[in-house]
Amino acid sequence: MNPSLSLETIRKTEGIKRLEKHVFELIQHDKKLTATHLNDESLTYSTLYILSSTIRENGMIKYLSDRNKVALAIQQDILAKERTPSAPFPYSICDLPQFVHSVLRWMVETGSVDKLNARYRLVIDRSAGLLTTIYQDPTDIPLVSDLLFKRKEDDHSTHYLTCAYFSSRNFSSLLPIGEKLQSPSQKQVAFASELLHFVTGLDESTDRYAYFRSWYEENLPYLSPNENNYEMTAELSPYVVDYFAKYKEQRSTQSFERHEDLTFQSLSEDLKENLADFSYKLRRKSREEWKEWMKRPLDAQIRLIEEVQHDHYRR
């Protein structure tokens, strides 16, 4: 036993079993030295997870840093067999919300590389879910997006993580997914396309990334969260373009409420999309022309679109 070796080095060079044996012997030899190793800034969450039983069985919890204590409490909470009805958090999430946030971030940042087992994946995925659902910090989005693509790469379930990712209700969560359309990995491109399936025309485009960027810039002001749910359909559409808002140039609200008038509401989805796109392009070209067009009755507006499209195709 070499007490000066870091726990990370032992795990990476000699494996999990050797690490557990080393820590057990170190505890018998010097508890304070063991605590120093465990509380090291460079320790990863995966190493703490591997050692969690040894730590508990040897009464080492009281020697741990706050970061490690909170991480183990979160881990225990996530792995608890019975949660409902609404078990209270065993750690003081209300007293120290920012601290818990930083611990969760540390767990996901340093723990997502290792696979270990299904229980471990569950802890990491749920922690990522807490980040996007409770804290909703935009700086966590790339971290969770990377984890999502890693899970897909390894053929593991992405179901709950996808739901948690989009429950941040932050439209910019689409950007890291769009970036993956440029990935050299075909699997990543396919997964990004699957997640962005609600972007009309994406699959048919020759340069998917360029198409996505232009779609995002055009539709961002009119996006709204979708009530649809992954548990209910085979494909998730987390956000939808509010065609009425795009048509009228209204900023979309974050709520589920729509302010469509009845005539617009009665149109087919294709026609709504057509009207919204035309309206957007016309006002970009000439605001005066757009104002004139908007003054016309809806059927006259549709006729003009048909005429323009007819001319376009004839050319």
């Binding site: 879910g129 948690a164 749910n229 548990e231 359909t233 085979a234």
Partner: protein, 292 residues
Amino acid sequence: MIIIGGSGKQKEEIMNAGLQSPLEQTILNVMYNSNFNYSFRTLEALFFEVRFRVAITESSRELYYSGVQFADFYRSHCNPMFWQLLPDGAFQLKMGVPASEAVLDIYRNGRLYAFECATAMIIILYRAAIKMIPPQQFNRLFANIRLWGWKFDQDLQIVHNIPPDYLPGDIRYVKNPDVNPLTPEWQGENVVDLGDGTFFGHGLGFRPLQGMIEALALRRRPGATRMPYLMLPATRPGFSYLYQFTYNRTEDSRKIILFDKSLKRSTLSIEDYENNQDEFIKNFITVRFPKP
């Protein structure tokens, strides 16, 4: 309103023709009293949908009593004799195993299985299809099934929309918008409308709608402000599509087609074929069952 072969039918006429049970009559009443025109090519096609819906409710009850457990995708498990558990928690039908036997095993050996509520709904639909479609047809249609949420086999032809009426056997969804992020498997519950004012949800059992809402409300995050609610869309299998795979086909379409060495085609009845099966196999290049 019910239209059969292009013309309206009296309710009594339909009931007398073979729909007797209270649940069948409930379904028929909703269709009959609706402003929407429920059109069927034949009376048998109407019976098929009504009985399929009843089979969905029966399959829900049977699933509950089979002893299957609720589990998220990390903790799903299945009988390895019939299914391969994939890393993402999906069950893949094993090579050479008839799909109907594998689905029935879930009901026979329920304690060996644990899965999520959306997967449960697909299993219920498959079980109901087995009740309605001959096993050989079922095994041909669903030869390579994978059970995982709503990633359904295309041959169920699932329809998901806001229907003109809600009918027993519909699958509905109770959404839990403020679910506790530590238990995302309770972000909503797929439920089967049992037609008696109660619903079945895998993991929550049989409850009226309010009971489902209350059970999900207990699974919300601390400080939640939104209550769970029933969403408007309903999910149904493609009844008219699946109907073509039933026994109830004309005698002609049930005939066996034979090809001799010069590829000359002839047909004969199943009974005649079965009486001389060895002879036919010896003397004909191809013996195939007609496509339904």
